[in-house]
């Protein structure tokens, strides 16, 4: 029995996870090393990877800051009523339930060139939709819950006794946060950040709708993969996919590391 279950599980993992990754790697080198290099060295690939990198950095920084602060407020703040906290708490998860395409559509509907807000920004010389700001907003929306969901349970678990003690002893809010709260939540923040990076790097649906997938302007790595597949340029698609998959595996290792650190503390 035992052998059978282990064998079945290994088979499921192999077919679902391991073989597909190997297949991508093989596909990238279908035309040898030069095919792989050519796929990557195309100017559109470099631009797309640059866009993805830019979005990942901005989104991660913004959502880490706001995510940690919002978790603190939702757990600790006395100026929010209990009911209101519960309501806000259930709203945090909404982006998980929203299909990425719908997330993109929401932003187009609110800030698109034909809307009042969009026209206003357009007059000010800033394009939101079909430009970088819209893509950043879309990714912010999609990745928003990740950090909050990691940090909130820990804050609840450690309780506020130590923080109150620090405050009683005359520490400022700032000192209390860095010396008391931060050490106990930092590995969860790191874990949330890794999840955010992974999601921001891989976001496809929302970005595709908002960006319009314009070559050399708003194309990201994932939307370029999509376009290459549609154009039957499979070797190039595989090369970019392999780079993204390598990034994912690195992130996966980071996740494992953050998880092990989190358990220690």
């Amino acid at each position: 029995m035992r052998r059978l279950w282990i064998g079945l599980t290994v088979a499921v993992f192999s077919f679902l996870l391991i073989i597909p990754v190997i297949r991508i790697a093989m596909g990238a080198f279908d035309a040898g090393w030069s095919g792989f290099a050519q796929g990557l060295a195309r100017p559109e690939t470099l631009h797309a990877l640059y866009m993805t990198g830019l979005i990942v950095v901005i989104v991660t920084v913004v959502n880490t800051l706001f995510g940690v602060m919002l978790s603190l407020y939702l757990v600790r703040a006395s100026w929010l009523g209990k009911r209101l906290k519960q309501l806000l708490n259930s709203i945090v998860d909404l982006p998980f339930a929203v299909s990425p395409v719908i997330g993109g559509l929401m932003i187009v509907l609110l800030l698109g060139p034909e809307t009042a807000l969009g026209a206003l920004f357009n007059k000010a010389g800033v394009d939101i939709v079909y430009a970088l700001p819209g893509m950043i907003i879309a990714t912010l929306f999609v990745t928003f819950p990740l950090i909050v969901r990691e940090v909130m349970p820990v804050l609840q678990e450690i309780g506020s006794a130590q923080e109150e003690a620090a405050a009683t002893l005359g520490a400022s809010a700032w000192t209390t946060f860095w010396r008391v709260t931060w050490p106990s939540i930092r590995w969860c923040v790191v874990y949330g950040v890794v999840l955010t990076v992974a999601r921001a790097m891989g976001e496809f649906g929302a970005v595709l709708v908002v960006s319009g997938n314009i070559l050399f302007k708003t194309q990201t790595a994932t939307t370029l993969v999509y376009q290459d597949v549609e154009n039957f340029n499979l070797t190039a698609a595989n090369s970019i996919a392999l780079v993204l998959a390598a990034g994912s595996v690195t992130l996966l290792l980071l996740m494992e590391w953050a998880k092990s650190r989190r358990e220690v503390h």
Binding site: W5, I6, T9, V10, F13, L16, L17, I18, I19, P20, V21, R23, I24, F66, M69, L70, A77, W79, L88, S90, I91, V92, P95, A97, V98, S99, P100, I102, G103, L105, M106, V108, L109, L110, L140, F141, F144, S172, A173, G202, E203, F204, G205, L208, V209, A221, T222, T223, Y226, V229, A241, L244, A245, S248, V249, L251, L252, L253, M255, E256
Partner: protein
């Protein structure tokens, strides 16, 4: 005194910024899409919602997502069980691989399935011989959904198995229960909450999936056109009202699932 005032101003500033960010980023867009869908009146909304193609797309999505969820409940429960209860070489590696679908861009996942199951691949050829095609048909969509939702059930069941008290199981054996009876009467009921909440999350994610599916589905209306791809098509052809109508339908459905999961989890924590 002045420093106190300053501190107060700071905290006020922080509070309002964070709350404003939250409301503008999350709540506005959602209200916006519901508002937009009814902006041309009930008649237009009803017309778009009763569009047969839209309904077919939504129903097809629900059907395929259900199949994917059931598959995940089975292989997810089995994998969680094996990864927690058995020791074998490679166990740690497999355990860290579980999260791969979360870390991998969905478009890359779609490409993987495209390559593995295409008509030129061994699997594709085998299926062809047996008389059916996978790629661009419903099986490919289900496989894509299973792939992207794979971690949910496993990650929900594992902690329950770890926490489970060994004495219950031992008591069952001591009382003469067979392995099968113990599993059905003692172990499974313990895992069930995790299986269900993981399945709900997997289901709502499968309903929403776009990236992995768009590359492997044939997108034939009524047969392989799922809701998110339908919405994308409507956006591409500039039919914003049609897109919002289906979006509202899908969103409401997903919200209901999400809140049910939250409610069940809260009751379990409190109870």
């Amino acid at each position: 005194m002045s420093s106190m005032l300053q501190g107060r101003w700071w905290s006020w500033g922080f509070r309002s910024t964070v709350m404003l960010y939250f409301i503008v980023l999350i709540i506005f867009p959602i209200i916006g899409i519901y508002g937009q869908s009814f902006s041309s009146g009930w008649a237009a909304f009803a017309e778009n919602i009763t569009e047969p193609l839209a309904w077919k797309a939504v129903l097809l999505t629900v059907k395929l997502a259900l199949i994917a969820t059931v598959v995940n409940m089975l292989i997810g429960t089995m994998s969680a069980w094996v990864l927690i209860r058995y020791r074998f070489p490679g166990r740690r590696l497999l355990n860290s691989l579980v999260d791969l679908p979360f870390a991998l861009p969905t478009a890359v996942a779609g490409l993987m399935i495209l390559l593995l199951l295409g008509p030129n691949s061994p699997v594709g050829e085998l299926a062809e011989k047996l008389g059916f095609t996978i790629l661009f048909h419903q099986p490919a969509i289900v496989i894509a959904m299973v792939f992207v939702t794979f971690p949910f059930v496993i990650r929900a069941v594992q902690p329950l198995l770890e926490e489970m008290d060994a004495s219950e199981e031992e008591a069952a054996y001591t009382l003469g229960a067979t392995k099968a009876t113990t599993f059905w009467r003692v172990i499974l009921p313990n895992m069930l909450p995790g299986i269900l909440s993981g399945a709900m999350l997997a289901f709502s994610r499968a309903l929403a999936e776009f990236g992995a599916v768009v590359l492997v589905a044939g997108n034939i209306p009524g047969k392989t056109l799922i809701a998110s791809v339908y919405i994308f098509g409507e956006i591409e052809s500039d039919n914003a009202i049609g897109a919002t109508a289906v979006s509202v339908l899908l969103l409401t459905f997903s919200f209901l699932i999400l809140w049910t999961v939250n409610y069940v989890q809260m009751r379990r924590k409190n109870g």
